[in-house]
Each structure stands twice: as C-alpha cells, then as structure tokens.
Amino acid sequence: MPVGDALSIGLIIRSRPYLQRSARSQLDVALVAAVLELPLRLYFLGDSILQLQNARALEKSSLPAGYRAWASLPDLTEVTVFAEPSWLQRISGAELRTLLTVVPKTVAAMRADWQGCGKVLVL
C-alpha cells in the first residue's frame, strides 16, 4: 500500500560510494529537493546504502567527506530512508552506523511504495 504523498519526491539510489564521477552527485539532487521543502523518500538499493555509513576512513583514502551532508537532510525537510534488510544487517554486523535512521524494506515493498510518491527519479 503506497504511503507517500502527492508532493513527495522519491529518489532511487543505486550506486555505492565513489562509483560515479562526483562522489556527491546523488546527494546534490537530494539536497536540492530538500531545500525546496519537498518531502523526500530515499530508496537505497543494494550496496548503495554504504553511502550512509558513518565510519569510513575518509582522511586515509584522500576522499572527500561530502557524504556526511546526508545527515543534514532532516534539518531541511521531512525525510524517510529505506534500504534492503540484508544490507542493514551487514552494516550492523560490522558494527557500523548509518548517518540517518533507515527503515528496512524489501525491494518489492519499495516498488509498491514508489507508487505513492508524486515523482520518482532514478539516480
């Protein structure tokens, strides 16, 4: 049963950290939507949830710390974050934390949820 609202923006995030040309390109889209005060529903598929993990040694790998800005989204708008239960278990099993509170949801349940969003964008 879809639970989003007509104004909400669903962002489907598919790539793990640093896979793209810019480390923060997906975060930028989320930040723009949040600045416009649109309710956000973030769907992290597979290992893309690693973008939210809070214990990477960014300094040692000389990579930017831009990902930490995910944590600022709730200050800007209403945000709900979903990820696959198996990946959340891996993260907690490695004694890591996520920058945002994440609701476990299977891909099938996410797909049903997308129908409740006003617009959905695959990133």
């Binding site: 040309r21 416009l36 964008l121």
Partner: protein, 132 residues
C-alpha cells in the same frame, strides 16, 4: 495514473495532454541510452506530446560537446539534439556543475547551462519524468 494509454511500440498512443521532462544521464558513447532518449523525444514531439525540456546531467552533458568525430553510420548526437531543439523549441538544459567536472571546451550553443534546482522545479511542473 496515466490519463491515456502508453504503448512502447507505438509512441503515437501517448495521450497528448501529458507533459514530459526527459533526463539524460549517459554520454553518447557509453551506452545507447542517449540515442534512445533522442529518438524518444523526437517521436514524442512528432506525435504532439509536449516535452518541457531535456535535462542533461552526469555523463549526459557529453551530449553537448561539439566537434567530436563520429564513426561512419553513427549519429552525431550533439547535432541531432540541436536540430531537434531548433525544430521544436524544446529547451536543452545542461547541468553546469556536471559540465564543470567533465570538460572545459565550448559546448554546443543549442544547450543552455542550468542547475539541479531548475531540474527539480521542472519535475514538479511536469506530469511525467523519464530518465535515461
């Protein structure tokens, strides 16, 4: 949901009251998605569908890079997008930060530098968003 029917095989069955935003994320050579997007927009416009804009982000900004040699038989997508915009008046918007991260060369004048805020506002204003 859809006000009318949509058949992938026959774009002429799209309801003409629907306004589209098309987002292109891929370069002309990385996959065939940019070509598919170009053909989709052309077919949609031909059948009277309104395409509010085509927004190029990520590697999609390479579609605006003019002067690249194309193999014989392969379409020059920069020219193809420009011709499409000239015929229809559809705006070709290019993410300025994606471009700044990728190339400094002169882009085709058919493409207008824009930003993610414009993309988001267009998303809100359009009936459907199609991402390639």
């Amino acid at each position: 949901m859809w006000p009318g029917r949509f058949e992938a095989e026959n774009v002429h069955e799209i309801d003409i009251t629907v306004k589209f935003l098309v987002i292109v994320n891929e370069s002309p050579w990385g996959s065939d998605l940019a070509l598919a997007a170009n053909r989709f927009v052309g077919a949609a416009l031909e059948s009277g569908v309104e395409v509010a804009a085509v927004f190029f982000r990520e590697d999609g900004v390479y579609n605006a890079l003019q002067g690249e040699n194309c193999d014989p038989g392969t379409p020059d997508l920069t020219e193809a997008w420009g011709a499409l915009a000239a015929q229809s008046g559809t705006r070709l918007l290019m993410c300025s930060s994606s471009r700044a991260r990728r190339f400094r060369e002169q882009s085709s004048p058919a493409f207008i530098e824009s930003g993610l805020t414009d993309m988001m506002e267009l998303m809100i204003g359009c009936d459907r968003v199609i991402s390639f």
